[in-house]
């Protein structure tokens, strides 16, 4: 029984994803009607397919997001955002807590950042008194 669960889960996720995509109010009822996104696209943005969005959902799920929630997130991205995620997902910065990042740093980097903080070049340590320039 247990081995079947992942398969069922995958099927359920794909089904849920399809429903989410269909329920999105992207295209009006009439085929052939030109949506605003097509008329205002300034950059080289292109339409992102349902399969590509599923790819993003899979990437999010692999990073600990619940599969259903991952599908919801992928479906809500604009085409430009989805393209960003597809092209450079690993290099997208994830804003987090400074102090966790610092915990992994060496004493050496600590000192460098301390000095750059004092010089007003960085802004890492709250205990560094900031001087207005």
């Amino acid at each position: 029984m247990r081995t079947r669960r992942p398969l069922l889960e995958t099927v359920a996720t794909v089904a849920l994803f399809a429903v989410l995509c269909l329920s999105l109010p992207t295209s009006p009822a009439v085929a052939g009607w030109i949506p605003t996104t097509a008329a205002v696209a300034t950059s080289q943005a292109r339409l992102v397919s349902v399969l590509e969005r599923q790819e993003i959902a899979d990437a999010l799920a692999a990073l600990g997001v619940d599969p259903a929630e991952a599908a919801r997130r992928a479906a809500g991205l604009s085409d430009a955002e989805a393209l960003q995620a597809l092209e450079r997902f690993d290099s997208l910065p994830a804003g987090g807590n400074p102090f966790v990042a610092i915990a992994g740093l060496t004493v050496f980097v600590f000192l460098v950042l301390l000095l750059t903080d004092i010089l007003g070049y960085t802004d890492v340590y709250p205990f560094v008194k900031r001087t207005a320039q």
């Binding site: 605003t36 955002e81 807590n97 000192l111 460098v112 890492v124 207005a132």
Partner: protein, 318 residues
Amino acid sequence: MPRFRWLSGRLLLWGAGLAVSALGAGCAAGPPLRADASLPGSARVDGVPVVRQTRNHCGPAALAMVLAWAGQPVTPAELAGLVYLPGRKGTLPIDLSRELRGRGLLAYRVKPALEAALGEVAAGHPVLVLENRGLSWAPVWHYSVLVGFDREAGEAVLHAGGNRPEAVALGTFRRTWSRGGSFGLAALPAGRLPAADDPDGILEALADLEAYGRPGAARPGYLAFTTRWPGDWRGWFGLANAWYAAGDRPGARAALERARSAAPRRPEPVNNLAWLAWDDGRRDDALALAREAAALAETVGADPAPYRDTLDRMLQGE
């Protein structure tokens, strides 16, 4: 003991040397703020609460602050389930704009210039910013909300996840923000537009809100856009589509006619007018309009596929 003191002294010197070399040309002060007459000496946005972040959750905290300002108070804990990415111990920028749209807010990407961010603050709009507070090779990513500035004192005021607002030197903020890629979002309630003179960026945000958020919330935004830029056909076109989605066909037709008269050579408004005529059972009018749209597409060099598709569908009786 003396040996240790010697060692730490040496380390400090090394650190200083490395720091200076790391700074390089960047150590020189950035370009001075443009003497922009439209930018006041100081400004402060009211109504942004101070929300304290928990570990790694600066994204949800910053989002909660701009949402509360926009009149939608949500707890950061609730938002964490919707935007936080556990495997990356942080929040992606694309998840923040997506979540704002889903709640009917315009997620406008501020132009990557300090003056642009301060301009929104001066207009009373808080700006959610992503900073790299460390160095490019030792990044310390952090989301804050820019809520004020004082150019004379040379300070930016941030709600940065702590207990109280933080005053940061403007020069320091300029560096940490541009080191983080100058990502900034103004989150505006329905009908409110950014202060920026940026019709392209504002329209893109409106169209994304219409397509991937709430079409109803985009409608007052398009209305405000057509008031500010009445000569831009795209605003009327968006308004028409939002009205059409809401089932208001006379409204859609009137707005499409405005789009058409603002830009007689654009095929898009004509194409959608053709479908409105088709829906009304005016078959001949619809076909004439569809042919006109296809011809216009060729003159302006637009992708002809959608217009041929319209014509084909109509000729086949749809």
